[in-house]
């Protein structure tokens, strides 16, 4: 379900206030967007709604490191 990307509550990052979706996405981390979505302050970012369930399971850092090493070796 792709609901509209919207900021319902302006987000303060340090002393800056963000009310624009694109500007916020540039400065906020995934975890921050997740928490703000969970609180219902922003919508449409795919967290933690059905969009996230469709995402591939996260790789553990070990697996990611192994994959990166394999890639490097293939080169």
């Amino acid at each position: 379900m792709a609901d509209e990307r919207k900021i319902l509550r302006g987000v303060r990052m340090g002393r800056e206030l963000y009310t624009d979706v694109d500007e916020l996405q540039e400065v906020a981390s995934k975890e921050q967007l997740e928490e703000l979505s969970a609180k219902g302050y922003i919508t449409g970012f795919g967290y933690p709604g059905p969009d996230e369930a469709e995402q591939k399971p996260r790789r553990s850092s070990k697996k990611a490191a192994k994959k990166a090493a394999t890639k490097e070796a293939a080169k």
Partner: protein, 352 residues
Amino acid sequence: MATSWIPEVEELSPAALTVRAQTIDPNDPANMLLWPAFAPRRDVDSVDLSDVTTLDDRPTADRREWNQRGRHVPPRIPARREVSIVPIEAYDKIGEKEMQRLAEGSNGNEAIMQQLIGVRIPDRAMRLVMADYRRLEFDFFNAWLNGQIVQRNPQNAAETQTASFGFDSARLTTAGTAWDDPGEDAYANLIGFLEDAISAVGNIQGVATRNSVIAAIQADAPDLIGGVAMTRAQLEQRISDDVGQPFRFYMVENTVDVFTDGGTATTSTKVFTAGHLAVVPAGGQVGYTAFAPVVRAMELARQVPGAGIDIRGVTVYYDEELMGRGLTIEAQLNALPVPDEQRVFVVDTLIA
């Protein structure tokens, strides 16, 4: 048709109980209600309000040349809001068994029974009045801090309806990272927030918040010479010096018992939403509470014109059930807190 005699007793009549209910003063500090200070009562003529919010609208005129027209200030029609107040009501029941016990205890003697019940009914009614005022308190803080009012079905708490005041997203804000995060400086965040607040709402006199937020700000505040931590009084003075405005913390930790569902179970709930911090503008008022007339109060006022019944106040009346076997006492209030958008400036610090 059998009817209960209770409403016929003069001291227990709806008019007498309404007059008594209206003597309860929401401003009395013993009642622990804060809405009368932050959003004082304002009488309105109807439950339908069309101009309930002050718009963030500050048009400025221009100078003109002689014999020319000045600046046209167009009306801001899209920002006009229509709000309808739905009643707040609490009721208590005197069931058939209680009626039976009362009648047995008095051996059917009506005078003794009147004495017995004459003490109980007013007390019960007054409890309902306070329940109404507490709903108003709860709704006020929700309106101020979250820009919304949540209406629930009293018989099924899962059925809710949220009405938003539609405040600008620059006025109801949130922190990106919790202020008590090790990487955040809660004190600096507060100063930045207050500086923005002063340009948004004008002069301020403090902030209303919860204890945990004040503690986080105090923990990050600059130490005194010699590395001694500031006291809260020193912290308030320091903030006041830093922003150049009078400043104090209004700590709100009041709780009310909110019913969890249609039954009798309640949850002790803080009226002030966790982690939120709201600017208190100079003067201390953030809006008003609209009090609309209650139709049954108007009827009572017509019946007993000399009683001085406030038609917009809490109204107590009876509802008879099952051919007089049960009696319900109801207390109704048609009131709604209406924050003024120009005086609202809130941040959710994300502190739990």
